[in-house]
């Protein structure tokens, strides 16, 4: 099975403190460490497990710049067969629809049976996968937490719905799935693996190779634009207790009792 995973390089939320910069219009990006978007990593692991079972290839693609190559290498160190960087000045500033348009052009150049994305990235959009599927006219399922390959170009997938329940679906190939974290336990990628792929050439594709109309993507074509970042005033937020730990403990106990929480 030929599997394509669409991945993205994002600031690592667990190893960064996200703060506003001094100008107050963006986050402080100076000392951020980046890594692959966590759900995308789960997607690659899932793809690797599928091809380990039934054969095939895993390609990881990202839309970005030179810096984004590192996640492709990391996923190749993990076991992905190919890494592809889609890069072009014309693409910068694209919104989700723009990204999906670019990815669609890339998909059309290949012959992929299954396309995976992570369910969402750090901006909480959860949109590229669904858009890509609609553009390609492929069936789509989001929040997938298990995949079983069936006979006859079909998959049985489960979706994570409320209450921890699982919605079982049968879906035809080729299709697009957005993968939820916890679907598997991603393998460790060690320094050795990363070093081994450090000099592997990574093919790049630009607007002309993909046949993408630059006017359809990029900043100018984006219909959704972020104006700024801000931290809302903690106006009606919590009443913060300021006492010593002992005083806070007493206060909490008092409140719990007052709200009917003690027998």
């Amino acid at each position: 099975m030929e599997i394509l995973v669409c991945a993205r390089r994002v600031p690592d939320t667990s190893e960064n403190e996200i703060e506003l910069n001094s100008a107050g219009n963006d986050i402080e990006r100076d000392e951020l460490v980046y890594s692959i978007n966590e759900p995308d990593n789960y997607a690659v692991e899932e793809a690797l497990q599928i091809v380990a079972r039934i054969g095939g290839n895993v390609t990881v693609v990202t839309v970005g710049g030179e810096d984004d190559e590192e996640i492709l290498r990391r996923e190749m160190a993990m076991g992905a067969n190919h890494g592809v960087l889609i890069t072009d000045e014309a693409f910068s500033g694209s919104d989700a629809r723009g990204i999906a348009t670019i990815l669609k052009a890339f998909v059309r150049k290949g012959n992929y049976d299954l396309i995976l994305t992570g369910v969402q990235a750090e901006d909480g959009g959860a949109q590229v996968g669904g858009m890509l599927a609609a553009m390609l006219d492929y069936p789509f399922a989001s929040l997938v937490n298990s995949i079983e390959v069936l006979e006859g170009r079909k998959l049985k997938v489960s979706r994570e719905i409320e209450g921890g329940n699982k919605e079982m679906n049968e879906i035809d190939l080729p299709c697009v799935l957005s993968i939820q974290t916890g679907i598997n336990e991603p393998r460790y990628v060690g320094m050795r693996g990363i070093r081994a792929v450090a000099s592997v050439p990574i093919p790049t594709f630009g607007a002309s190779e993909l046949g993408v109309d630059p006017g359809a993507v990029g900043q100018a074509a984006a219909k959704v634009k972020r104006v700024d970042y801000f931290v809302p005033a903690l106006g009606k937020g919590a009443e913060m207790l300021k006492g010593s730990r002992e005083e806070n403990v007493d206060k909490v106990l008092e409140l719990v009792a007052a709200k009917g929480g003690l027998k």
Binding site: G124, M240, N248
Partner: protein, 328 residues
């Protein structure tokens, strides 16, 4: 001004809470607008849900089709594309169904898409101004969405307060005939209900809820001690289940359980909305977290910046002390 629609999710004849919230969101887009509810389904369930919506919507479009008895987003999308006028603004709740339906819908309608909106600042020119969050809620962003060719907008559940007023007359329009045959490359098979755990967290008045801040499996006992002392139950957020420190039955959130306790102790929980989405009924929320900027402090009633691994055991001791004094 484009027409505003709200796609309503319903189950077993009951419309989701988000129905009224979407109406409120529509009002923020255009105070003069009267949003139209969109309902798909089949049979008695559909009818019952439709009746329930009369309080929030002046016009309801229904699509009744046997294929839609179970809400399969792939099929529903095809149906909606057939009935929605070009340039419409479609609101959907940002939860598992909305995430499934909405992005693809925006493409098929050839309109813009913006997701998980927390606040709407109205329309300026051809832009809809909204507020979103990024980085797990650590920062907010003002976003503009060009709605000149329509838009699909998913709305964060609970972000918009339902409005009180009831519309004067309700028109129900049956759009079933416009839809035609519905098939898709994805077919619903069944729903596997989550295993009932040893504890039903939905039945407890007080929940001691833990998040990533508990750090390791062996520290879960600290929360269990407190829960025991309080006669409460331990619940948790997603990362705790992902790490397999507690079973799925303990998870509170949009993909976990919905709980309505009187008191909710959020310990080491950052406050991602997917978790908070599982809290209903406005419990008294006490948040304890090491990080003073954790988003949970924006929604909690009382907040304490402290290490839960130190704070909880002391709280447990105090509770036990109190009980032993009372026993004398």
């Amino acid at each position: 001004m484009a027409r505003i629609f709200a796609y309503i999710v319903h189950k077993a004849g009951v419309a989701d809470d988000s129905a009224a919230q979407l109406a409120a969101a529509a009002k923020k887009i255009d105070p003069a607008a009267s949003p139209t509810a969109l309902l798909t389904g089949w049979g008695a369930d559909l009818n019952a849900a439709c009746s329930a919506l009369r309080a929030s919507y002046a016009e309801i479009w229904t699509i009744s089709n046997e294929a839609l008895a179970y809400p399969n987003a792939e099929l529903i999308r095809k149906a909606l594309v057939k009935v929605l006028p070009p340039g419409s603004i479609v609101l959907v709740a940002h939860e598992h169904f909305g995430i499934d339906l909405a992005p693809g819908l925006s493409i098929k309608l050839n309109s813009a898409f913006v997701s998980d909106v927390l606040d709407i600042g109205g329309i300026e020119g051809s832009d809809l101004k909204v507020v979103r969050q990024e980085f797990g809620g650590q920062v907010s962003a003002h976003v503009r969405c060009d709605i000149s060719s329509g838009a699909v907008v998913t709305v964060r559940p609970g972000a918009f307060k339902s409005l009180e007023s009831a519309p004067v007359a309700v028109t129900v329009v049956d759009k079933s005939s416009e839809v035609g045959a519905l098939t898709a490359g994805r077919r619903y098979l069944e729903t596997i209900v989550a295993e009932a755990g040893d504890v039903d967290i939905t039945k407890h008045n007080v929940l001691v809820s833990i998040g990533r801040g508990i750090q390791k499996q062996e520290n879960v006992a600290i929360a269990q001690d407190l829960a025991e002392a309080l006669g409460a139950a331990v619940s948790c957020s997603r990362p705790v289940v992902d790490a397999k420190w507690l079973g799925k039955s303990r998870q509170v959130g949009s993909s976990g359980k919905t709980v309505k306790p009187k008191v909710y102790l959020a310990c080491g929980i950052s406050g991602a909305f997917q978790h908070l989405a599982g809290l209903k009924g406005s419990p008294f929320l006490i948040a304890i977290n090491k990080n003073p900027r954790a988003p949970i402090f924006q929604v909690a009633d009382v907040g304490i910046v402290d290490d839960i691994l130190e704070f909880l055991p002391e709280l447990t001791n105090k509770v036990r002390e109190m009980h032993s004094v009372a026993a004398k």
